[in-house]
Amino acid sequence: MKAKAEVAALQNALQAEEAASYGYGVVGAHLSGAAFSQATSDCVIHERARDSLSAMITALGATPEPAAVAYRLPLTVSTPAQAATLAVDLELSVVAGYVPLAGAAEPSLRQLAATRMQAAAVRAARWGAPPRSFPGLSPAP
């Protein structure tokens, strides 16, 4: 039962990382120079996180849920500013995606979730997100 809850929390985080990996392809396509490099770097971070989550799910005897062929993006992107807005949205979705894992029974999973939530919140801020008191919690307490 404990493992089942942990797998569900890991799958939740995996879906957020898969969506971010896809979304950053769109973000990068509308950027150039330093912003493009930043998007590429952030995309790689999400791909690695996705792969590590998949491995953890497999190690628990479950099957990682496959990524979708395409994702419905929250906004149409045709300018660099819209690309940055999409990056903010992707990162905040990743923060929210790890929240269930932060309450997992296994302490190491909680630490992993918190660390990745912090990193995603930092990236969201770099892409222009305004400060948030309780990122990932909806509704805010």
Binding site: V95, Q111, P131, G136
Partner: protein
């Protein structure tokens, strides 16, 4: 029940109460220890109070990045409110500081140095929250993880407030 039996029960009860009276409060069993969750929450509240005080000091000596400092201070106050809401205290203690202030360290002068000192405090706060996750209940762990993400992001806003000047 006969009258004699009733007297017997009553006498036994009086005897038990008398013995309990002699034992004082120990007759009620061992005094319960404060749970680890309460201690953890008290420490986190004390640290969050210190952060609010730190930003109050920073806002008095900052001229250039007052908006950012005020915004972040408001976020720490929101964190503090949520942490306090999870610690139920007797009415006479509610609203008081958990631990006496240990004094706010002197903040350096100059926007860059001030921002740097606040960033150090934010990173330490995020690390402290992460370290406390292992032992708290799941709901509190999720809240602490969210607060740690908020505090980690503060570093970006502090840096930006300096570089944009």
């Amino acid at each position: 029940m006969t009258r004699r039996a009733l007297f017997g029960v009553a006498a036994a009860a009086v005897g038990t109460l008398w013995l309990a009276g002699c034992k004082g409060i120990t007759a009620l069993g061992p005094v319960p220890k404060i749970s680890g969750d309460v201690v953890t929450l008290e420490h986190l509240i004390a640290h969050e109070e210190a952060l609010v005080d730190l930003y109050a000091t920073a806002s008095r000596q900052s001229s250039g990045s007052a908006d950012v400092i005020a915004t972040i201070r408001a976020e720490h106050e929101a964190h503090l409110k949520q942490l306090r809401a999870r610690l139920v205290l007797p009415p006479r203690l509610a609203g008081t500081k958990i631990a006496p202030s240990r004094g706010i360290p002197a903040l350096p002068a100059g926007a860059a140095a001030l921002s740097g000192a606040l960033a150090v405090a934010e990173r330490a706060a995020a690390a402290r929250l992460t370290a406390q996750l292992a032992t708290v209940p799941p709901g509190l762990a999720r809240l602490l993880a969210s607060i740690s993400a908020s505090e980690a992001a503060h570093v970006v806003y502090l840096r930006r407030s300096v570089s944009s000047r």
